[in-house]
């Protein structure tokens, strides 16, 4: 991304130490002034509620005993809870499918759109991004209707082929139905981020490649992809975090899918149902934090595995 500055910056005099002169230190402190508004909102609406949620997760609240400090009992219960663990396995499976699929498709589309510059490509770019502008709930609802045998076009399509239409909301196929919805919704967002990185590449690199005789495909594979690797890693982390917290689509499709989606389909959904259907706020907080811990671990593992490529070390 900073290839152009790397090529053009002349040799600078040796830099002064990080927090050297008084003026520099005073100027640097001014950074907090800029950060302050965001920091206030962050503390009040994230750190504070999080602290309270953590405090709640360390207590139990029963009819007989009232509110009691229970230490890590809720967490022990969470990590031995079969519904939580199966939900974790399920979102792990989702992550293994969603993340490569979405990032791969986003990369392919970004490369194509960077290369082809016609009206069709501009229209396609808008179309691919448009589903992100649609709220997740609406998108899931629309696809729920499209999948339904009464309203959707799929039954007609399969009748045309004289084949029995599969029930896309049944237990066997709900995984791929959800995959489809999420891919439709999020590929555009990741594609725009990768596309923006591609746009900021210095075009003289392409000229040099062309002089060396590289074909368009070679340019794409061996020049463009390595340059945007840091964007790929970052969109990968965001996709991973989002997938492990999978909530909206199962929540919306649950009434339509009958018994294919149960109350503990994903850990996030489980926490939500515990809090709002079963009124177990303390245990729900513990499940949320346990999930957060798993997300944190997964992200660390992902970043360590890609640390050479992302330039983050």
């Amino acid at each position: 991304m900073s290839a152009s500055t790397a090529l053009e910056t002349p040799a600078r005099p040796p830099a002064t130490p990080k927090r050297g002169t008084t003026l520099e230190r005073k100027t640097a402190r001014f950074g907090w002034v800029f950060l302050a508004p965001f920091a206030v909102v962050f503390l009040v609406f994230l750190v504070l509620p999080l602290g309270y949620a953590f405090w709640m997760s360390l207590h139990t609240n029963t009819l007989a005993g009232g509110e009691q400090f229970a230490g890590l009992a809720n967490y022990t219960r969470a990590f031995t809870d079969e519904r939580f663990l199966s939900g974790l396995t399920r979102v792990g499976g989702f992550a293994l499918v969603f993340v490569p699929l979405q990032i791969g498709l986003a990369l392919v589309f970004a490369l194509i759109l960077d290369d082809v510059r016609t009206r069709l490509s501009r229209f396609t770019r808008l179309m691919i991004f448009a589903p992100y502008a649609i709220p997740g709930v609406i998108g899931a609802l629309m696809w729920g209707f499209l999948y339904s045998p009464s309203f959707g076009p799929l039954v007609g399509f399969f009748d045309f082929l004289n084949v029995q239409a599969p029930d896309l909301l049944s237990r066997d196929s709900i995984f791929w139905s959800l995959t489809n919805i999420v891919t439709w919704q999020w590929t555009g967002y990741y594609m725009i981020i990768i596309y923006a990185s591609l746009q900021s590449i210095d075009p003289s690199i392409y000229e040099a490649a062309r002089i060396d005789g590289a074909t368009r495909l070679q340019t794409a594979l061996q020049i463009k992809i390595p340059i945007v690797t840091s964007s790929l890693v970052l969109t990968g982390v965001f996709a991973l975090i989002g997938t492990l917290q999978f909530f909206t689509e199962p929540q919306v499709l649950a009434p339509l899918a009958g018994n294919a989606i149960d109350a503990a389909y994903t850990p996030n959904l489980y926490a939500y149902n515990l809090a709002f259907s079963y009124q177990q706020f303390n245990y729900a907080s513990a499940i949320s934090f346990a999930l957060g811990l798993m997300v944190f671990l997964a992200s660390i593992i992902f970043l360590i595995a890609t640390r050479r490529k992302s330039g983050l070390n």
Partner: protein
Amino acid sequence: MTTSPAPLLDDAVTAAGPRGKRRAAKTKPRRERSVGLHILLAVASLYFLLPMWWLIVAGTKSTQGLFTGSGGPLWFDSNFALFDNLQQLATYNNGIYLRWLGNSFLYAMAGGVGATVLAVLAGYAFAKYRFRGRTVSFMVLLASVMVPATALVIPTYVLFNNLGLTNTVWAVILPSLLSPFGVYLMRVYVQDAIPDELLDAARVDGSGKSGPSSPSPCRSCGPPSSRCCCCPWSAAGTITSCRWP
């Protein structure tokens, strides 16, 4: 943005005379490859457009037309019921839908603008000022993205209850001012787009101890700010649809 050198080559070649025609013919295969890519793009457009098209078509059908429409699910029915449906929507429960629409618009605007302002300031601070605790703060910021929002809903409700702000617009706008993604995007952009030399020059020209805060960095921040604004917009739209109220 990519100035293709191919036209230059073609010009040079066709100027070469009769042989130039054969050379010009060699550039044709490049166009043919584009046909395959264009087909791929067209198929992708159709796939991403499909649900929205279905929505538009379904909006023009009456309830019965949804089930037994003459054109099938993806084409219009013989009975064009769009205006009936819109009228039903606008008069439902004494026009409450228009109120909801106004609310959502207000949340999106206020939340979007507010979140963008905060994110731009914070991203600029992270990128250009080396204050103590910068790295730690940034790590905390990234870590906050990993917390599932379901953990935050109940404590936030309790907080607003204690402040007496439940059932007001602030209960939705204030939490939506938080946009860690926005801060991250702005930091990355500012780091690359605003060269330190520009700030040093402004400082030399006497813009005070705080360093230049406007107008040149602000102007450079324009494009990503608008992209930043898009994210809170859709975030605000989603938030109002289910979780915070």
